[in-house]
């Protein structure tokens, strides 16, 4: 594709590559979903067909490295980079182990030049990498896995819990998925930094966002960026008329939901986020909050705090669809959650979960303090006396060891 002079031939090779990449992804991940949905749709008309489902094992992280590889092909097609002639360098780009199974989704334009450049060991970078790995492990093992215990219990038996408990269940899942995925990203970024590589940042304290647009600039940044550059902008972005904006917004969010898995719950999650986002886009307020909240201040203003809580609430509602096994359960969960608002003032419910709530508060406080850094503890305690700093690091290390042993699978490994 890179060598061909003819635009027509170049386009042919480009589409061949795209179809092959997406074809493999579709076969492994979406084939059964489409077949089953098709059969179910026909059954409504009284037609019954044999289910031609395949019993294929889904390769770990297939969505990540497919998109990873696609970015390389698209960048060549768009003449942003030249094709890589060194097979070892290309293989390293595609299969760089820290990001192989759950991202961040790297760009050829970002990672390949680093691979080609000679790297020298830098003590400060390596220490920073270890610090980020430690923080990632803390987020995963101490925060996410502990929240998972309660979230699983509540989601699996949601019919027996009060509204307040169901809200806490959804909150626990919101913290779980953040700790789980951003924890993995921190481990990946830290590991890569040990080897002198800087990977794309994947999370930027999304739960401190003041609106959904800001949330999506801070959550799974490498995927949002990928969709923005390779799908949203080629579709016309937000430059067309209102209809074009609405269409593109729905496309990008639904595809984003579908990327997570072949299930209607993920599509509903994407759809709900599109509904959240659309009013901001149509009123041209989607780029209101570009800076970090309350920069240089200890606490946010009342207005910002209110906006953060409202955004978090919307995000939590959307996560219920993401976590539930089907749309029906998600809707029942939400209905049960809101039908008895009196239960929200029951102190007993919160006391029952006081340990995990205290842990979450501590975690969010650390995140808040470090929100101007690349990751929460990047600069935390660097000005302290070494003894205090090491006590802090050892506290994290000991708690990671203490809570280890019953680790949950990383949620994003399934994608």
């Amino acid at each position: 594709m890179s060598d061909t002079k003819s635009r027509k031939a170049k386009t042919f090779w480009f589409w061949l590559s795209v179809v092959m990449n997406l074809g493999l992804l579709g076969l492994f991940k979406y084939y059964n979903f489409f077949i089953l949905s098709f059969a179910e749709a026909l059954s409504h008309f009284g037609l019954h067909v044999n289910n031609w489902t395949l019993q294929l094992v889904l390769p770990v992280g297939i969505s990540f490295y497919t998109f990873h590889g696609l970015s390389y092909v698209i960048d060549i097609y768009q003449d942003k980079i030249k094709a890589e002639r060194n097979f070892v360098d290309y293989a390293l780009f595609v299969s760089f182990f820290p990001l192989l199974v759950a991202g961040p989704i790297e760009r050829a334009t970002h990672l390949l030049p680093q691979i080609k450049t000679k790297r020298n060991f830098q003590y400060s970078k390596a220490i920073d990498g270890l610090r980020q790995i430690l923080w990632g492990l803390f987020k995963k093992i101490v925060i996410a896995d502990q929240c998972a215990v309660y979230a699983n219990q509540i989601f699996d038996h949601y019919g027996t819990y009060s509204g307040a408990t169901l809200f806490l269940g959804a909150l626990f899942f919101a913290i779980q998925i953040y700790g789980d995925f951003s924890g993995y990203s921190d481990i990946a970024l830290g590991t890569a930094r040990l080897f002198g590589f800087e990977l794309l940042r994947n999370f930027a304290f999304p739960y401190f966002s003041r609106d959904i647009a800001e949330f999506w600039r801070r959550w799974h940044i490498s995927l949002s960026g990928w969709f923005r550059d390779y799908l949203y902008i080629p579709l016309g972005g937000s430059k067309g008329g209102t209809w074009m904006k609405v269409r593109n917004t729905f496309i990008i969010f639904i595809v984003s939901g579908f990327w997570h898995g072949a299930s209607w719950t993920f599509i509903a999650w994407g759809l709900l986020n599109a509904i959240y986002f659309l009013p901001l886009l149509l009123s041209s307020k989607n780029r209101t909050h570009l800076d970090i909240v309350a920069r240089g201040q200890l606490l946010p203003s009342v207005k910002d705090a209110f906006k953060i809580l409202c955004t978090l609430f919307l995000v939590i509602i959307a996560w219920i669809f993401f976590r539930s096994p089907n749309i029906s359960d998600a809707l029942h969960y939400i209905v049960r959650m809101v039908q008895n608002p009196i239960s929200f003032v029951s102190i007993g419910v919160y006391l029952k979960y006081k340990s995990i709530l205290l842990l979450i508060c501590l975690f969010m406080a650390l995140e808040w303090i470090g929100r101007e850094q690349q990751y929460a503890i990047a600069g935390f305690g660097l000005n302290w006396r070494p003894i205090y700093r090491y006590v802090f690091y050892y506290s994290l290390l000991v708690s990671v060891i203490w809570f280890s042993g019953k680790e949950q699978q990383f949620i994003y490994f399934q994608f």
Partner: protein, 305 residues
């Protein structure tokens, strides 16, 4: 140079908690292996009758209504752990004259190995870890090597808790919360399956329990302590379901060992004296059994010249 500095600092960073942990583990081992808790509990009240064993003893003997007795029975305690517990008790106390060791048909089943070095080792063997000699500690660490972090965490947690509370998880004692219960056939069937069968096949005999039963007999002889095997009451339906092979092995074992046995497995008791599994006694059953044993002890004492 920079990479050497990095490696040196990283190793030191990781070694500090490791060294700290090893020191903590050694300190806990030294402190908790002393077994001073036994002399505190037994010698002060001159308890000469000791009841030792698993949940059958734990639930059957209410030592508060039996003079000069002490129940140290504990759920899932295999004879292997009872041996080391008794050894430490005899080393640290002076009042024990009679040991009643829980011994029943299920004590012979290989299902007990799960509590020593099998799937439940983490929860059960960790209670006795500090009581064991070094070689046995290594044996248990090796048995739990697949989940070593979790095992080390459990023994540390239990050790620290024991040390802080001046309690000992290996001590055991009478513990029975069943007040209005009764034996139920479906639970008894499940219990029989759990204790004697794996995947529909009859379990083999537990060689370790048999080996340590003989060791307990020798230990009692050396310490001049009277050893009695105590088979606590069983519900008649439960007993009828015990596989013949285990009944034969039980009879053969006590015959070969030439040992005193107090077999109450056919003691006539109402359904309400049992918990649903028919294998353990309720509070009511425990009271009747303990009183019966008390009457036996009075009779034996009176019979002595």
């Amino acid at each position: 140079m920079q990479i050497q500095l990095f490696l040196r600092k990283t190793v030191i960073f990781l070694c500090v908690p490791l060294v700290f942990y090893l020191v903590l583990l050694i300190a806990l081992s030294l402190q908790l292996s002393k077994g001073t808790v036994f002399s505190k509990k037994l010698d002060s009240d001159k308890r000469e009758f000791l009841f030792l064993g698993d949940s059958h003893i734990e639930k059957a003997i209410n030592d508060s209504i039996l003079n000069s007795s002490y129940n140290v029975g504990q759920s899932s305690e295999s004879i292997y752990f009872s041996y080391f517990k008794l050894r430490k008790m005899l080393q640290t106390t002076h009042c024990i004259k009679n040991v009643y060791l829980g011994f029943s048909y299920h004590s012979l089943s290989d299902y007990y190995s799960k509590f020593v070095d099998g799937e439940y080792s983490n929860a059960i063997s960790s209670k006795y870890f500090y009581l064991l000699p070094f070689s046995e500690k290594l044996y248990l660490l090796n048995a739990n090597r697949r989940d070593i972090v979790s095992y080390i965490k459990t023994i540390t947690e239990k050790g620290v808790m024991d040390f802080m509370a001046d309690q000992h998880t290996y001590l055991g004692g009478y513990d029975n919360s069943y007040v209005s219960s009764k034996a139920q056939k479906n639970f008894m069937d499940k219990r029989i399956t759990l204790q004697y069968y794996t995947n529909g096949q009859l379990d083999s005999f537990d060689a370790k329990n048999l080996e340590y039963l003989k060791k307990i007999q020798e230990l009692c002889k050396q310490s001049n302590v009277n050893l009695v095997l105590l088979n606590t009451p069983l519900h008649k339906y439960y007993k009828s379901k015990v596989p013949d092979a285990f009944i034969e092995k039980y009879n053969q074992t006590i015959h070969d060992m030439d040992i005193q046995v107090l077999d109450l497995s056919e003691m006539p008791l109402d359904d309400s004296c049992f918990i649903p599994d028919g294998d353990h006694l309720s509070q009511q059953g425990a009271a009747l059994t303990t009183k019966y044993i008390a009457s036996q002890l009075v009779r034996d004492t009176a019979a002595k010249p």
